[in-house]
Amino acid sequence: MNVPSEHLFFLSSALFALGVLGFLVRRNVIVTLMSIELMLNAANLAFLAGSRLHSAPGRPDLQGPLFVIFVITVAAVEAAVGLALIIALYRLKQSVETDSASEMKG
């Protein structure tokens, strides 16, 4: 694929911006969590684009892929804990809207 790495970065920033928009705009906690996953994926893409940029012909740069492996693991962990919290919230409030949990009034 002969696409310049800039375009991977552009795609990454666009995906991240959409993730931020979803995080701010939606009230459903599950969709909020999905927006976070989207942002983590955009970060992964940026890591890989950077790694591609710094790879020499016979010597691939491995830090990007290694970090992506760690980020994927953390994203899975975050999803598991987040969904458990959503289940706990639903048990308490019978709702998964963020407005239903406003006791602390931050």
Binding site: M1, S13, R27, L38, L48, I69, F70, D99
Partner: protein
């Protein structure tokens, strides 16, 4: 050919991301996210990251999104919900939230453009791709063995935390 495929897949990934925000039901959001993740996996493959493309599909599409679907179905949230209501009071109003998004996007693009001098032609991708597994494994168990063990600890802690969180039957039960 691969270039055209890349741009088509980028469009699919962005449309999927847009679908996550625009879908009225959480189920639609999950399916849009699935499309976006699959497009991203093929982009990884095109860019030369073969193992990570497989990991993307296995972990995200296979585990994380199934978990999302499981919770949506368990809590019976498939019906239509509220759509664009903002929960953050300081950011209320459509202009402010558009401004935040545009600012984030412009900031990221500006950061990239500012470093544009560093960009060059992409390296040729060999048979092993840009993430050859033997080297990755050596990195994980060699130089990065400390973060690797930390993340195993994190996974264990997560398992315990999720069991504790999900075990409680009623709020009267206390702990």
């Amino acid at each position: 050919m691969a270039e055209i495929l890349f741009y088509v897949l980028s469009a699919v990934a962005l449309l999927g991301a847009l679908g996550v925000i625009l879908a009225r039901s959480p189920m639609g959001s999950v399916l849009s996210l699935l499309g976006s993740f699959f497009a991203l996996a093929v982009i990884y493959l095109l860019a030369g990251f073969q193992f990570l493309a497989a990991a993307q599909i296995l972990v995200y599409a296979g585990a994380v999104l199934v978990l999302f679907l499981f919770v949506i179905m368990l809590l019976n949230l498939g019906q239509l919900g509220t759509r664009f209501q903002l929960s953050l009071a300081p950011l209320a109003g459509p202009r402010a939230r558009l401004a935040v998004t545009v600012a984030v996007a412009l900031g990221l693009v500006g950061l990239i453009v500012a470093q544009g001098a560093a960009f060059g032609a992409p390296p040729p991708v060999g048979d092993a791709g840009l993430d050859p597994l033997p080297e990755l494994a050596l990195g994980l168990f060699g130089r990065y063995s400390l973060p690797f063990q930390a993340i195993s600890l994190l996974l264990l802690a997560t398992m315990v935390a999720v069991v504790v969180l999900a075990k409680r039957q009623r709020k009267e039960d206390g702990r």
